[in-house]
């Protein structure tokens, strides 16, 4: 579904990605980890067709991203949804209005009422987006992301700053989406327990490269007591 080979990207001459390789298959949940500034968000934005890259091959749904017409780009984007960082939408729209607008963007067949019910948004559906708490903003973002039944969902630190209950709620939605639709989920997180509990694979980005891309079980089988322990031993503190 996604194949990345020797990906290079730099900002004003400063290299961020230095030959990154990556692969994701249908139905996988892959957690991308690495320290702040490692290039995780840049990598995800390249996959989402939001950013250009300098060198390498990036293939998403069988399309080479280097040679995309605007129509093809839009076709790819219609199969991708995301929760980005920071989580922001039009602040002056109410939750239900945002859902309607994005339903129109994605030409989704799903009923707004169904999404509101699935994500338990009833109590906040008439609240302006800017008035929502961080957790509710993430919840609405996820609802919008799932609205289109995408083949690929990209979540950039979806649970950062949320309390354990809200984190648990969001993960139950992500897992349920993955189970129901067989869609692929790629996410970044700084919570290593989430990687261990929910992800099929973990990708460690360090010094601009994917140093590790394997299952959490394989990492634990190498003798690490936890993914957190693996991270601390393999990633230098800033």
């Amino acid at each position: 579904m996604i194949k990345v080979k020797n990906l290079h990207k730099s900002y004003h001459g400063k290299p961020v990605l230095k030959g990154l390789d990556f692969q994701a298959n249908k139905g996988e949940i892959i957690g991308v980890i690495g320290k702040n500034g490692a290039g995780k968000s840049t990598f995800l934005e390249i996959i989402m067709t939001l950013k250009s890259y300098d060198e390498g091959e990036v293939n998403v749904f069988g399309h080479d991203l280097k040679h995309l017409t605007e129509q093809k780009q839009q076709a790819i984007r219609s199969n991708i949804s995301a929760v980005l960082q920071p989580t922001e939408f039009y602040k002056n729209l109410k939750v239900v209005e945002l859902l309607r607008l994005f339903k129109a963007y994605y030409q989704s067949d799903l009923k707004i009422e169904q999404i509101i019910e699935d994500f338990k948004l009833e109590s906040h559906k008439k609240t302006y987006f800017e008035k929502l708490s961080g957790g509710w903003k993430q919840k609405v973002s996820l609802a919008i992301a799932f609205l289109s039944n995408p083949k690929l969902i990209i979540l950039d630190e979806p649970t950062t700053g949320l309390d354990p209950h809200m984190r648990n709620t969001l993960w139950s939605y992500i897992a349920e989406y993955n189970r129901k639709t067989g869609g692929t989920v790629i996410l970044t997180t700084h919570y290593m327990d989430e990687i261990e509990m929910y992800c099929d694979k973990v990708c460690l980005i360090n010094d601009g490269k994917a140093e590790v891309l394997t299952t959490p079980e394989n990492i634990l089988a190498r003798g690490y007591s936890s993914i957190n322990n693996f991270y601390l031993q393999n990633v230098e503190a800033i």
Partner: protein, 246 residues
Amino acid sequence: MLLTQLKYDLIMFSREIFYLAFSLIIPPVTYIFLGQLFGENTYANGLTYAEVYTPSFILLITFSVIFFAFGFEQVVNRSSGVEKRILLAPVSKKILLVSNILRSIIVTSVGYFFIQMLGIFVYNLPFDYMNFISSYAFFLLLNILLLIFASAIYSFFKEMKSALVFSIVIFQFVMFTGGFALPIEIMPKFVQMIAYLNPLYHMNQLFIAIWNNQLHFDTDTFLSLGYALFLLIISYLIIQRQRKTV
């Protein structure tokens, strides 16, 4: 899709007090207030207060709507991450742009008719059908020019705070050097010099002339048109350059 986007763009505009205040409240209030002070005066070419300041305040509203609700809004969306999220959605940039342009035209047209009605009912401004058509057509042209200028200028801003400060300063600058508050001719020499560099001053002079059927193709007119064209080309080049640097 275009109608849906336009509907929500208009809803968002109507809910933003900051935009409403600077575009649809302050200019009409100032128009009435200045009219109470200078309503009896006669201006250049024998024009009345209403004949000079009705097109001027329509242009001021157009400027405020486009610079705040179009230009500044772009920076807000860019800096908050909204732009990135919308870009990812499968909606074409053309639809977003056309919707934004239509919103600006609709809102500024409301301002146009509002000020014209005030002029007719408060200052007995005469109404001529043919003149209305030519003025409105020129007003649409001014809309397009200002949309391009705003796109170019605000493409430099990444942070909302700096864009906000710039917007408030530029509003004051335009208000005083565009001939919207007091005639430029009565201002100090250095203000007059600055005014000639202000494109809104030239647009204002042209609009007043067209509104009052007094447009003559003399040196001043060609200078104003040439200056607007020059800025249009510069703005276009800036927009193209900024698009490439993603």
